[in-house]
Symmetry: C2
Subunit: 132 residues, 2 copies
């Protein structure tokens, strides 16, 4: 399922991507607002993100850790998010990724996701050159 | 346990705070490096954070959601982090907080925590005035 999630991001396949989220998803993203609640808000935010790229999105996963018990699970990992932005800039940025899942009617769905980029504590700018 | 975590932060009680984390904690914080792994690294980072404040840390919790099943659990919430910084600046900032837990030898411990502040997508500065 985490593979499907990353594949859908790379391909910018919004329907495939949304199929891994629960209706009551609470999403903490790199950009405001503080919470994207529900699939409509999350879908719009993914489409906004897809539109930042001219072409496909590169997404690699590193340091994946998964814990599952019964109907609750979580996973954390780092993603290297790369690609050509609409302004022509080529960027590759490591992001924090935490995914929390529940099994509902025998189907695992993401009920909470948290994506972030660290800040420089001196000037509070985004740290886009941190490496794992 | 989440209450103990917040109380320990407010009081800057590092030993009490560290008692809620597992030895193999993987911590994604607002500042680099990308991962703080293990209690030594996490402890040093908390002490650094405590030292930013002149006096106690204000920490309120809102929109808490918890999922538990068997020996795995996760929780997500917003924290309003406030207080007087060493430079005299009074700041109150909403932060994303995700906490992932496992029960090990009948004791619940945090094995992963992820704290972040959103960025302005235009200039990538930290958004310190977002409100839930």
């Amino acid at each position: 399922m985490l593979d499907r999630r990353v594949e859908a991001c790379r391909a910018k396949d919004i329907d495939q991507l949304m199929s891994v989220y629960s209706d009551d998803i609470v999403y903490f993203d790199v950009v405001p607002p503080l919470q994207f609640i529900g699939t409509d808000a999350v879908r719009r935010n993914f489409v906004r993100w897809f539109d930042e790229y001219d072409g496909p999105i590169g997404l690699e996963t590193q340091d994946l850790s998964v814990a599952v018990n019964g109907d609750v699970a979580f996973a954390h990992m780092l993603h290297l998010d790369s690609g050509t932005r609409r302004n022509g800039l080529e960027l590759a940025v490591w992001v924090h990724s935490t995914v929390c899942l529940r099994r509902l009617d025998d189907q695992w769905l993401i009920t909470h996701e948290h994506i972030s980029i660290p800040h420089d504590p001196n000037d509070w700018s985004a740290v886009v050159d941190a490496k794992p």
